[in-house]
Amino acid sequence: MNDSLVDQQWLHVDINSYFATLVQQEVPSLRGRPVGVVKDVGRTCIIAASKEAKQLGIGVGTRLAEAKILCPDLVIMPCDFDQYLSATRNLKQILDHISPDVEIFSLDESFIHFLPLKRQYNSAVLLAQLIQSQIRQVLGEWVTCNVGIARTRLLAKMSGETTPKGSVSWVHLPDEAALLARTKFKDVCGVGLRLENKLARMNITVPYQINFVDQQQLESLVGVFWLKELNKMAMGDDPLFLTRINDYQHQAMKSIGRSITGYQLWSNTLEIKRIIYNLTAEVVYKARSQQLLPRQVSIRLIGRDQAWGDFQTFRHHVFHTQEVFNLIWQMVLQAWQPFPVIKIAVRLSLLESWQKVVPPLWPEWRRRERLELAINAVTQKFGLHTLQPGLQLGIAPIMPEVTGFFGDKGYYLGGSR
């Protein structure tokens, strides 16, 4: 490989303060003002903040009351997931025109492999500037993005996230060590709070330090898997999960989950039952629309200071919403000691393609399958929860939503929706 190309292999495109920037793009009077985005009217946790709000110390997870103290003029807007998903599809379209090999990492972040584009664009910086201008042209003049250029995805992302908004940054080979030595683990993609705290016990706060610590001691602290991954990070190489971003295109999802956090604690068992059914209907529909069937179902209920969860693994596959719901509800009835709940999560795991599964022959199963197919056909045409069982009558359904991490991109970008 040409030496001059080694440090410009990957581009990381990251839209700045995505949700809040789109709000400011749509409402010009909010541009330049601190904006906080909450999940819905009445919610108290900020899920996105504009760059002006971030400068005042308001960020993801800041409580509304706390944010109002930091900035009394903060404008609060409810989020609009459909709008963000539409913008992400536009972003994907822009990048797909530039390269056939785009990796959509999250709702607002993508990686582009530059080497195959070298002939067409000559320099990664020129390509970065082209991407920035096209994003402004399609999504709007207020929408800016950072583009990081580096030898690996990890370095490109680290660089893009530590430079001023709207900039293009290029990590040259001699500068890699400095970047790895100044970026704290909390800003390193893939390192969560627990791992960060474990590393802090060995006084390790930046990836570069990993090169100089006792490997046996580190292994006993973090285990074999993370020892290997951290060593890759310390060299600026991509950890495993950054090399598997596009797996969703050719590899089926392994699990599908959905959770909801309430406005207030739920104590009514019927209400909890209805929410569990609602979430179950969504995950089963998502699984079936990708022709996947689970062999494991799990449920988790989280309260103020209590949590309960359970799962069941089967030798057979589970096909239908009602079947999954009955299994989950049985677990709840058998083992849950009731307490007020703030968060409910259901998950289908050990998913397998239904082409590998021989469907049962019982007449009752076939009847249920016909019913499920009919409901799925209506859902596909008119949206989720158009048909509801009697249990759900009279209550507003909880609709699907995308998350910033975009874990179900296979469902949203794969054409199932």
């Binding site: 749509e26 010009p28 609060i76 409810p78 008119f382």
Partner: protein
């Protein structure tokens, strides 16, 4: 915050490079000029594809929505602070 209006409107626009660009709306017998389109989103609600435009009319920001199934326009929401 956006406040719902949900009233039918007529829209006059042009096609530019194969893309429809709304230019004027007729709402309650008044014709209003769209100064700027701030954001365009393609959404799917209850199985129906819709295109939502954030538009500046006068000094206000509205959302107008084109229902791609029955080809009708609606003045969906107005932004009020």
């Amino acid at each position: 915050m956006f406040t719902p209006i949900r009233e039918k409107i007529d829209v006059l626009g042009i096609y530019q490079h194969g893309v429809f660009i709304p230019k004027k709306i007729k709402w309650r017998d008044q014709i209003r000029l769209i100064k700027q389109i701030t954001l365009t989103s393609n959404i799917k609600a209850a199985g129906v594809d819709k295109r939502v435009y954030g538009v500046v009319i006068g000094s206000d920001i509205y959302r107008i929505e084109f229902n791609r199934l029955d080809e009708t326009w609606q003045l969906k929401e107005v932004y009020c602070e």
